[in-house]
Subunit: 151 residues, 3 copies
């Protein structure tokens, strides 16, 4: 019985190889090769690049901060889902905006994707994002498989 328990443990330990995995979703166009990855998973941790509101052809989707943040959170959700998780696994957001006076619009979009204890977050106004039409960029870290989140 000691041997059986030990073998089970060995199995549990060795089925967690923390290979770096590239995560992609058919819903989120990957950037060009030789630039960056949208999402990498190492062990239970999922790193999502700073995403902006872009369509399938990677053109800026336009719209205000609410509209852009909504599209970004949808893209994050697609990637975290593709990685085997849900938005309940997102623990950290870094939000960059070009007009901090409009941050409530980002918050409004965020409320549509999270509940209970929201992710920790940092929101700052930067002097520019990749293109003038891009008003919001959001990066995320998720940790999967840890039983969701308290209220």
């Amino acid at each position: 019985m000691g041997g059986e328990t030990a073998s089970r443990l060995l199995f549990l330990t060795e089925t967690k190889p923390m290979t770096i995995q590239r995560i992609s979703s058919p819903e989120v166009t990957e950037p060009a090769p030789g630039t960056w990855s949208n999402c990498l998973k190492v062990g239970d941790t999922v790193y999502v690049a700073g995403l902006t509101a872009r369509d399938r052809n990677l053109q800026p989707a336009g719209g205000d901060e609410y509209h852009q943040a909504r599209l970004i959170f949808e893209r994050i959700q697609h990637l975290v889902t593709a990685a085997g998780g849900t938005m309940r696994d997102v623990v950290k957001l870094n939000i960059y905006v070009t007009q901090i006076a409009n941050r409530d619009q980002v918050w409004r979009a965020r409320r549509e994707f999270f509940e209970g204890a929201f992710p920790v977050a940092t929101l700052v106004e930067v002097s520019a994002l990749a293109q003038a039409a891009i008003l919001v960029e959001i990066e995320a870290v998720a940790v999967l498989g840890h039983g969701g989140r308290p209220s």
Copy 2:
């Protein structure tokens, strides 16, 4: 004896459920529901939101960069302590200031909270933080229970 050892291992393994925990301190007012969490803990890792110098009513505390950074590090310390750690467990700081020429004041405050090998840090000047009176925002990552830090 094999069985005993195996059981102890099983215990060690299963007492590390990496549930996401919300960490709060009576000293640090939580933001309004539906916005963000000040601090989440997953396993040994503690994520602290970008904090600013605010009083218990979440009003900007005012003062210069030194004063604000001091208040922020106190808030970080309260949260990391509530998570079961100390400032020696803080491994990473991201510091956003509105006037980079005054960064020495942030450093001066930081020296009052750390010793030995300081956390890795990034400090950049952003074009604006949440309100005009807010001159500094600091986010932190801590990893608990790993025997402190070398000199």
Copy 3:
């Protein structure tokens, strides 16, 4: 045999003490004491501070974004190597530039250091970095020993 297996497991578990280690390289001058660390390692994770293009005397190296980013990636490579890893272990980059219109120069430098699935990345324009001659600052997270990265 159960006992032997269990002992091996115990060994595996206990040889992973996640002490915080300061990582330094003879090629990368550490900042002054009481400021920050260039690189800390906790378990398999390596945190690299926001680095800029500086020479051995910590003076800004000057040059354009391509030149500066190249020097920064070299410094990151020295530190990750000193930590026991390679650039294939880098999972996340945060890039701060002062002129986002020149970001292609940072990308060009990055292509000389990565292959296959690039790290996730966020790139934003900030209003200032530590000195006027500093055009780029890059921080990195690496996770070691996980079998490289897919293409």
